[in-house]
């Protein structure tokens, strides 16, 4: 494994072959907003918040799945990227029913944090306000599809770490929904081990533990790196 040198935000940094732009940036204290990425899980490049500019390339690259190259010049913050990121967060807020004041994850929500981080102060686009359901059939947990952002962290943690693959996605476009097993109520699932990892990794209030107050709904995420031997596995 050899060491590569590159520039991120004008700073000379070094990283190992096969490491991603995101990894190297974070090692060097350069912040790149992410949502679907979670250390310890495979990366899917789906939320597009971490897109960065690479000099000499017209396309934007998702930092979480783009591996570094020798001499690469990466721009993490630019007016264009800031506008795109703000728009992505706006799209997520307008897609379903994200009403912070009545949410179990209020003040403990990555979507809320992102809105602050990217400076989203208002919506230019109308709310789509879909009629999404809540599945409270599981004895300990519940899922409120109104608050789901389809980051698929739960799908990956369930498949890759718990090994149960209870969660998956069905449907297309804005009709896409998380499902348990082949679309049966969560409580009827015979693959779910009730381990609760999905609840811990959910960035919003979509997956929640029953009987907990808002103040208690803090996620315990740092346990994940202890569960996996190494990070940065990509599919």
């Amino acid at each position: 494994m050899s060491v590569l040198t590159l520039t991120i935000e004008g700073r000379d940094v070094a990283g190992q072959t096969g490491h991603t732009i995101l990894q190297v940036a974070r090692e060097n204290g350069i912040a790149i907003p992410t949502l679907c990425h979670l250390q310890g899980l495979s990366d899917v490049g789906a939320c597009r918040l971490c897109v960065v500019e690479v000099e000499g390339q017209r396309k934007l690259f998702p930092a979480c799945v783009t591996t570094i190259d020798e001499g690469m010049k990466v721009t993490v913050n630019s007016e264009r990227l800031a506008a795109h990121r703000r728009r992505i967060v706006e799209l997520l807020f307008t897609e379903r029913n994200h009403i912070c004041s009545v949410c179990v994850a209020d003040r403990n929500c990555e979507l809320q944090d992102l809105a602050v981080e990217v400076g989203l102060t208002h919506f230019d686009l109308p709310l789509l306000s879909p009629q999404a359901v809540v599945d409270a059939t599981h004895e300990r947990f519940g899922i409120d599809h109104n608050r789901c952002v389809l980051c698929t962290r739960c799908v990956r943690v369930c498949d890759e770490i718990e090994g149960a693959h209870t969660w998956d996605v069905m449907g297309r476009g804005t009709e896409a929904r998380l499902i348990t097993d082949m679309g049966i109520p969560w409580g009827d699932s015979n693959t779910c081990t009730s381990c609760g990892k999905c609840v811990q990794v959910c960035p919003t209030g979509a997956l929640f533990e029953k009987g907990r107050s808002v103040a208690e709904a803090r996620r315990r995420r740092p346990y994940l790196p202890y569960l996996v031997a190494h990070e940065g596995r990509t599919r």
Binding site: E95, L128, V149
Partner: protein
């Protein structure tokens, strides 16, 4: 079925071609592709057989063939020996059926294919055998020189020579993006993989109005299989998959027959042409998702997963199906290969112009007289395609635009009619070559409505994986919907343009990145139509139903 006293034709079971034992003076080729079959071409075929037999024409053949091209005028019957094409030969239409039989007997009638511009302006490479051979008989394909190129490649050429020939031909991917085929093949060939490689034929054609791949698979499936085997030999793969949409049952059926027959004849399978090279092909049927035409989604679908794209790199050429190097080519690209190997790269690269060499099959649809399947050398102008080959607009309609490239493409206005149809010119005009759908629009078409149609398509077909495509296309659709209802403001048009740029820049795959194209290109050439909807609450084409302004104001749907 044979009348007493007339000589017995060689053999004929129901639904099999009628071939006389002796020399053939004339033959009726009855189109059996999906378009004509939907107009009972099989009944036409039976009636023609009966009539030929009844007339005692013993030196006349009646053959089942694939697409004859002029799909709008079906059912079609061609008599190639006399250079004639009979259109609208409807089942039960005695006059039309007798007309064909009269022609076979030596009488006049039909269209002259040598002078009819629809036929005479075309150059057929991919469609060379369409309409000439029975797609369900491997013998027919072999009789016109089929599998000679494969035999030539595996017995007289090294894989490197095959790669060189394909590279020098200058052919580019016919699936839409136009990536140089030779380069793609060479990349896969150079990637070491002791565990094997794969060749995948992408037949997940889904652009609205496009049916090139379907027609090729229905009319000359062996040609595609031969192209795949040659590709396998060149890149070092022994296993191929054809991914076909479930919406093409006839193509699936004929392909299944073709694979069985080719394996039976020793043209596919182990030890092709007594060499150590073996190649087999399996069919995978799509479940109806447009996005599965995207190569990484297609691979996920073949592997049995959910058809969603993944970020590239790694490209399938490095890590594709089951993580092995995989060559993915479109049906049309692979169908061009036998001719390139058989006749040589120089012959192929003499067709076309500039960086766009060879021929391209287009499905001509919309407001045009000769709706159907055509193959032209690249570099012809839009005007030649729409007016000479297509015969112009029906009923003297006025030309407004032509759309290429499906939901990722754009609309070209009248001022671009003299533009050459090649990869670079189309990209410059804000469209793409795409897989080959070409939709002609007359002045009764509202361009905002067209943009809305394609956005609705993208919104529905978005796989839902990445945020910009999933939510962005939905929001753009809603904005376009408001414009077509006369509710939108200029600010909302600004929002639409800003969203278009963002979705193009940040989407994960080509479907999302290309989805704003219909909006951007119609805004570029037909901005006045958008402004008429917004400022004057009028749809200039009279298509969109404007909502009364007062009622909308009262309902709070518009800003005062």
């Amino acid at each position: 079925m044979t009348e007493a006293g007339t000589p017995t034709p060689a053999r004929r079971r129901r639904q099999e071609s009628l071939i006389p034992a002796g020399p053939v003076r004339a033959s009726a080729h009855v189109c059996m592709a999906a378009g004509c079959l939907s107009m009972q071409a099989d009944t036409v075929f039976d009636s023609l057989c009966e009539r030929v037999t009844a007339r005692g024409l013993t030196d006349v053949a009646v053959k089942r063939v694939g697409c004859l091209g002029l799909c709008a005028a079906g059912p079609l019957v061609a008599v190639p020996e006399m250079g004639r094409m009979y259109d609208h030969v409807a089942a039960g239409d005695d006059a039309a059926l007798d007309g064909v039989v009269d022609g076979l007997a030596g009488g006049e009638g039909g269209r002259q294919t040598a002078t009819d511009p629809f036929f005479s302006h075309q150059v057929k490479v991919v469609l060379e055998h369409c309409g000439q051979i029975d797609p369900e008989r491997v013998e027919d394909y072999v009789a016109v020189g089929g599998y000679e190129s494969l035999t030539k490649a595996v017995t007289t050429m090294t894989p490197a020579e095959v790669l060189g020939e394909v590279s020098r031909s200058g052919i580019r991917g016919r699936g839409g993006a136009g990536y140089p085929t030779g380069l793609k093949w060479t990349t896969v060939a150079k990637t070491d993989s002791p565990q094997g490689k794969y060749v995948v034929c992408n037949g997940d054609e889904g652009d609205p109005g496009a049916f090139m791949d379907r027609s090729v698979l229905e009319s000359s499936p062996q040609q595609v299989l031969e192209g795949m085997a040659i590709a396998g030999y060149a890149v070092g793969a022994n296993h191929g998959y054809v991914y076909v949409r479930a919406e093409y049952p006839l193509a699936v059926k004929r392909l299944t027959t073709a694979i069985r027959q080719a394996e039976h004849a020793g043209l596919l399978g182990p030890r092709i042409a007594d060499t150590s090279f073996g190649f087999d092909v399996e069919i995978r049927i799509g479940a109806g998702a447009f996005v599965c035409g995207e190569e990484t989604a297609l691979i996920a679908s073949i592997e049995g997963g959910r058809g969603t794209p993944r970020p590239r790199p790694p490209y399938p050429a490095a890590s594709g199906l089951w993580g092995k190097p995989t060559l993915i080519n479109n049906v049309e690209t692979l169908a061009s290969i036998p001719a390139i190997i058989g006749r040589g790269a120089e012959w192929y690269s003499a067709i076309g112009s500039g960086k766009s060499l060879g021929t391209k099959v287009f499905a001509l649809a919309g407001s045009v007289v000769n709706t159907g399947l055509i193959e032209v050398p690249l570099g012809l102008t839009l005007r030649e395609i729409v007016f000479d080959i297509g015969g112009g607009l029906p009923g003297g309609g006025k030309f407004k635009a032509v759309q290429t490239g499906g939901p990722s493409g754009g609309c070209m206005p009248e001022s671009l009619l003299d533009m050459s149809v090649d990869y670079e010119s189309l990209a410059q005009a804000g469209s793409i070559m795409g897989s080959g759908g070409m939709i002609v629009m007359d002045d009764g078409t509202c361009m905002v409505d067209v943009a809305k149609f394609f956005m609705d398509f993208c919104r529905e077909e978005s796989c839902g994986k990445c945020v910009p495509c999933r939510v962005g296309t939905t929001q753009m659709y809603h904005l376009l919907d408001r414009i077509t209802r006369g509710l939108a403001s200029r600010d909302e048009l600004g929002e639409l343009e800003s969203l278009a740029g963002m979705v193009r820049d940040t989407s994960l795959c080509g479907l999302g990145q290309g989805s704003p194209n219909p909006v951007v290109s119609t805004l570029r050439y037909f901005r006045d139509e958008y402004m008429a909807h917004i400022d004057d609450h009028v749809c200039p084409a009279g298509v969109c139903k404007m909502e009364p302004r007062e009622a909308a104001l009262a309902a709070g749907e518009v800003a005062p």
